[in-house]
């Protein structure tokens, strides 16, 4: 098949795909949604760095806003048409000859925007836009401003590609892309070793998950190709094949593939076996945690399972595994969340547990409920993270809730939005959390999914029980968090604790300094001579007051390019001021001087403390978790590795203050969203029509419903045709129980921390010392992994290395010795027999040569003449032979005969 037919078959196939779907939009318009953030990224990385901050922020937010507008447009078009939008650019991987000689297009540059994708892209772009706006002011002081926004844009771009991809390969591109961006953003302040290692940890753990994902996807691809002859990884095509041959696919294979894909999802969405990276991911800036580790990336696993629902439906055992892991994660993470003192760690564990809920929802077959919880969770968890960011911003980098308290009066807006979001999270009825969580619990209870498997009917009931307790624990630790941060008596006044220059990359704050630090702390030192030239001190366009001493960046190198290290070296030449006796004063000043948190820049005493924290054998394996440092050391101050930086406020001023307008705007919108969005999923039991479930029906419902329900759905917009569980009494009971769980959790939390000022908590920790230690140190999972996985690997390679030296080398040397002996033997034979024959031949040739040599006259002209004459004779002979003419007869004919 030559090139031309090959290309024409390709084009004609491409055109078929385009006509099938309603060509409402030109493919490039749809591709603009994911590509605009990527262009934003390119702009930032290449041009943005040299531009002033307002331009950078305008471009990056503008790009996301454009994507947001486009996604709203697509949402309305999909809503009205009911048909998914297909944007096909052209074939991507085409393989000739796979299918009986014909050209089979494995993967295409194709984006599909159906109902599920609409939900996701709306979440990503809207919440993304709000977080971009939020981080404008949050990162205002950041030196590498453009780099941050470029990574954020790139992340949004990849996330959009992930959700809009029409085939597994393109989704995997997005999958890996978001993993990359999360690595980049977690390790954003890479000067501190912990952040860099946290980033690496996140990436490695994700890769483990992705390995499983790839294995699953590839086995599915090869199996479908081999047995049904359909070589494709396009979701729609796979769905048709699988639903068509539902019973032909053996249970073993579908279970294996689903479990592999689920492991991939656990890696990405931080479920029990592979969740360890999410708490450490808090090392990144807070808006990043909000966007990536709360709203979008971590939900990729849930989206994938929702997208591949036709596959998961095949194997109830796999769904059972998914539900089990989800439930266990929910309760497990929830329990850890209770004992955490760092505000972001609490939220991180709460995210893990809520993801557990989503997996539970998806596991029991209620894909719509799982996605709905994802949808609502994105709103209030993002609001919580941004709230915590604004708290940290206000408190000048302080993240330890035991050091906060009484911020209600200081930061009213943040308080009210934080409270609203935490109530939504804990599942208080009118707010969003209640509807989504309750729906999942009800589906778990009433599911008939596992009746066929060995587990029987009660499995669903157990899952519901675990879910309810998890909901209660969620309510409890959220209340604990709210009380300790906002309502408790202000602890920050006494400790004059929080550090000043919370510049990103700033040094470890005073938090691990001994308690009796004098008032003359770093924060007190105010004005540092402004360096007129440095661009970063140009009046920040944002209203946020640029109070406090200009961050050490003033005398930092102008361009924020990677060249900083070089300049640092020169800078070190400048002798640090003489170590003043009183550590506070000069220590304070000098501390400002150093930049990029190089420990060795610090005065002696500070670095001393670092060593203490670094574990003796920390270097080799990947990022150990700093807070699993020996318990004695971090005595109760819950040191977190990004304390001391992580907020852009940079004000060393004593009083925590309300955050600037941009942050509040994002907080308020998200809080309002988390309140209002719940009504989308108003359950039929309470008389509403579950709009969200209907909306996802075409994508998610099992195929037969889809075929039948699709038309009816399009026609009868709201008439509840297929309501099977209309007002089943048990549903009301469960609803009451879940409200009770939420209320109980809040009440219990209020009793322990509000009314009795955390006293019962203290004596509980005294009484069960080691239990508290265990929970606070996250059941020492990291040490478990280290002991169970990393160290054995190290020992293994030592073992193989030793084996190699002794055994293998031994064998080789032995063989060599045998070879030498054999060689000696053959050498003897060779000398006597062979040489004799050769010498004889040489003598013979010499005699002949002596005779012939005389012909060699050395005169080139003679040689040429001889050659020419010889040549002529040869040609003549050849001609005669060729024509076999009789010489004599031609001679007579030419000269005698007629001319």
């Amino acid at each position: 098949m030559d090139l031309h037919t090959f290309v024409s078959a390709l084009q004609e196939q491409g055109s078929h795909a385009a006509e099938a779907a309603a060509p409402a939009f030109s493919p490039l318009m749809v591709w603009m949604v994911p590509l605009l953030p990527v262009f934003g990224f390119l702009f930032q990385t290449f041009i943005g760095r040299k531009l002033p901050k307002p331009v950078v922020s305008f471009v990056s937010c503008g790009v996301i806003f454009a994507s947001c507008v486009l996604s709203w447009v697509f949402f309305f078009s999909v809503k009205s048409a009911g048909q998914p939008i297909v944007a096909m650019l052209g074939p991507w991987v085409q393989v000739p000859g796979l299918k009986d000689g014909l050209l089979s297009v494995i993967a295409e540059h194709k984006l599909v925007v159906d109902q599920l994708t609409c939900v996701m892209i709306l979440v990503i772009t809207n919440i993304g836009f709000l977080i971009h706006v939020y981080s404008i002011s949050y990162m205002a002081e950041e030196k590498r401003y453009a780099r941050y926004f470029s990574y954020l844009n790139l992340f949004t771009g990849f996330m959009l590609i992930l959700v809009m991809a029409s085939n597994v390969l393109l989704m995997f591109v997005g999958w890996e892309g978001v993993g990359l961006c999360s690595y980049l953003l977690i390790g954003f302040w890479f000067e501190k070793k912990e952040n860099a290692s946290a980033g690496m940890k996140a990436f490695v753990v994700n890769r483990v998950g992705d390995l499983a994902f790839t294995i699953g996807a590839l086995t599915l691809f090869v199996y479908l190709g081999r047995t049904f002859g359909v070589w494709t990884i396009d979701f729609q095509a796979m769905k048709e094949v699988i639903t068509a041959h539902k019973d032909a696919i053996p249970m073993g294979l579908s279970t294996f593939v689903c479990i592999m894909l689920f492991i991939g999802a656990t890696g990405k969405s931080a479920q029990v076996p592979l969740y360890v990276w999410l708490p450490d991911a808090m090392a990144g800036p807070t808006p990043v945690s909000a966007l990536i580790h709360a709203a979008t990336m971590v939900t990729a696993g849930v989206y994938m399972i929702a997208r591949l629902n036709f596959l998961f439906v095949l194997s109830p055992t796999a769904l059972a595994v998914v539900t089990g892991v989800g439930a266990f994660t929910a309760i497990f993470a929830g329990s850890i969340g209770i004992a955490q003192n760092d505000i972001k760690k609490v939220l991180a564990y709460s995210t893990v547990s809520q993801l557990g809920f989503m997996f539970m929802g998806v596991g029991v077959g209620a894909f719509a409920a799982g996605v709905f919880h994802l949808f609502t969770h994105a709103f209030f968890k993002a609001c919580l993270f941004l709230g915590s960011g604004s708290v940290i911003h206000g408190m000048g980098g302080e993240q330890d809730i035991t050091k906060m308290g009484g911020l209600k009066s200081k930061m009213p807006y943040t308080y009210w939005t934080f409270l609203l979001a935490s109530l939504a999270l804990s599942g208080v009825p009118p707010l969003a959390g209640f509807f989504s969580k309750d729906e999942i619990l009800w589906q778990a209870w009433s599911t008939t999914q596992f009746s066929t498997t060995g587990l029987g009917m009660w499995y669903g009931k157990i899952i519901w029980l675990i879910g309810a307790t998890a909901a209660a624990t969620t309510a409890f630790y959220m209340t604990r968090l709210v009380i300790k941060t906002f309502l408790d008596r202000p602890k920050w006044a006494t400790a004059s604790a929080f550090s000043g220059a919370g510049l990103p990359g700033g040094k470890d704050d005073e938090s691990e300094l001994p308690q009796d630090e004098s008032m003359l702390d770093l924060g007190a030192i105010k004005k540092k001579p402004k360096n007129p030239s440095s661009p970063s001190n140009r009046p920040a366009p944002l209203p946020g007051p640029m109070k406090g001493d200009e961050p050490a960046s003033a005398d930092l190198p102008e361009d924020e390019s990677m060249l900083d290290f070089g300049k640092i070296a020169r800078k070190k030449a400048q002798p640090p001021p003489a170590p003043a006796p009183v550590p506070a004063a000069s220590h304070g000043h000098d501390e400002h001087d150093h930049d990029h948190g190089h420990a060795h820049d610090l005065p002696q005493d500070e670095s001393m403390l670092d060593l203490g924290r670094v574990r003796p054998f920390a270097a080799a394996h990947d990022a150990h978790d700093s807070h699993d440092a020996p318990a004695a050391h971090d005595s109760g101050h819950g040191h977190s590795d990004d304390s001391g930086h992580g907020h852009g406020g940079g004000h060393g001023h004593g009083e925590p203050h309300e955050s600037p307008a941009f942050m509040l705007f994002a907080l308020i919108v998200l809080a309002a969203g988390s309140a209002a969005v719940g009504f989308l999923g108003w359950p039929p039991a309470l008389g509403g029509t579950n709009v969200f479930e209907h909306w996802l029906a075409p994508v998610v419902e099992a195929h037969e419903a889809k075929a039948a329900g699709h038309e009816t759905h399009a026609k009868a917009e709201h008439e509840p045709a297929s309501e099977e569980h209309h007002s089943n009494p048990m549903e009301y009971v469960l609803m009451l129980v879940s409200i009770g769980a939420a209320a109980g959790g809040i009440f219990f939390g209020w009793i322990v921390y509000g009314k009795r000022m955390g006293v019962p908590a203290k004596d509980f920790t005294e009484k069960h010392k080691e239990l508290y230690e265990l929970v606070r140190d996250k059941y020492r999972i990291d040490e478990l992994y280290e002991a169970a996985v990393i160290n054995p690997l190290l020992d293994l390679n030592e073992g193989t290395c030793r084996f190699d030296n002794e055994v293998v080398d031994g064998a080789v040397n032995g063989a060599a010795r045998v070879g030498i002996i054999v060689a000696k033997g053959t050498g003897l034979v060779d000398n006597e027999v062979v040489d004799a024959a050769v010498n004889g031949a040489a003598v013979a040739t010499q005699m002949v040569a002596r005779k012939v040599r005389r012909a060699q006259t050395g005169n080139i002209k003679q040689y040429l003449t001889f050659a020419l004459v010889g040549g002529l004779f040869v040609i003549a002979a050849f001609c005669l032979w060729l024509t076999r003419t009789n010489l004599w007869s031609t001679f007579t004919e030419t000269f005698g005969g007629n001319r």
Binding site: K861, L872, C879, T883, T894
Partner: protein
């Protein structure tokens, strides 16, 4: 002969003259630099001859490699091997009469061989086709009308001469009115009608300006057939098997296909040889070659 042929002939003779003049100058000129630049004239005229023979790629290659490469090398060699001072460079030779006579007789023998051994003017072989009572004998010639064009062979220029005779056996029923020769190559089709001539009178026609490609011949006899009283117009068409010819323009594509096809191995070997020559020449011509 059209204007184009005449121009081509004039150009051929001019180039031939310059080639021979150059060759003689190279052989006989006293000043070696003069003979070098005479070689320039020879090379250019040979390139021109290739162009006349419609071998355009070879003409280009010839100029590019010979003039651009080899001649520049020769001139450099000439300049490097003669002390710059004397412009008039001796180019002494051993002008013995023996060499001259040898070459003359060589030339003579070559001319004899050319004149007698090759019969270029082979007549075209004929193809006869029979159908019902008709018999067509068919011949095709090159543009000059004398040299036979082998069936399936290539035409020199883009025009071909056809000579055919149509004879009819004793058959009262069919009367022949017209004879038509049709040449088809893919989409384009060229045809020529002849009124019926005498029994063995030849039909002769020159087809001009044929486009590139493979051409096939078919003969169509138009006539009337009598069945019963009335006469019905009939048409007999029979394609002449394994006849036809090819018209090609330029020689680049055939060479490329040959180089990439049967001659691929040779092509690679030549590239290796060129590399060896390059390295060898550089090594030999380096400055301190004292110990050679």
């Amino acid at each position: 002969m059209g204007a184009a042929e005449i121009v081509l002939n004039v150009v051929f003779y001019v180039l031939a003259a310059s080639a021979i003049a150059g060759a003689v100058a190279v052989a006989a000129s006293r000043n070696i630099v003069r003979s070098a630049f005479a070689l320039l004239a020879v090379l250019f005229s040979v390139a021109g001859l290739y162009a006349v023979m419609k071998a355009d790629f070879i003409a280009g290659a010839q100029v590019l490699i010979y003039v651009g490469g080899i001649l520049v090398l020769i001139i450099f060699a000439v300049m490097l091997t003669h002390r710059i001072t004397d412009v008039k460079l001796s180019n002494d030779s051993t002008p013995g009469p023996a060499a001259f006579c040898a070459c003359l007789c060589l030339l003579f023998s070559l001319l004899v061989v050319v004149r007698y051994s090759t019969k270029w003017r082979r007549d075209s072989d004929t193809v006869t086709a029979r159908a019902e009572s008709f018999e067509v004998s068919f011949k095709q010639y090159q543009a000059d009308g004398a040299t036979g064009l082998a069936f399936g062979g290539g035409a020199y220029e883009d025009s071909v001469v056809v000579v055919a005779t149509v004879s009819q056996g004793p058959d009262p029923l069919r009367i022949l009115d017209q004879v038509q020769f049709v040449a088809t190559s893919g989409a384009n089709r060229v045809s020529r009608n002849f009124p019926v001539a005498g029994r063995d009178a030849p039909y002769r026609h020159v087809f001009e300006k044929l486009s590139e490609g493979e051409w096939r011949w078919t003969v169509r006899l138009l006539g009337r057939q009598k069945d019963g009283k009335d006469e019905v117009d009939r048409e007999w068409e029979f394609p002449l098997a394994n006849t036809g010819f090819t018209v090609t323009r330029g020689v680049t594509e055939p060479i490329a296909l040959a180089l990439a096809g049967p001659y691929l191995f040779a092509f690679e070997v030549v590239s290796v040889l060129l590399l060896a020559a390059l390295v060898g020449a550089a090594f030999l011509a380096r400055k301190e070659v004292k110990d050679l």
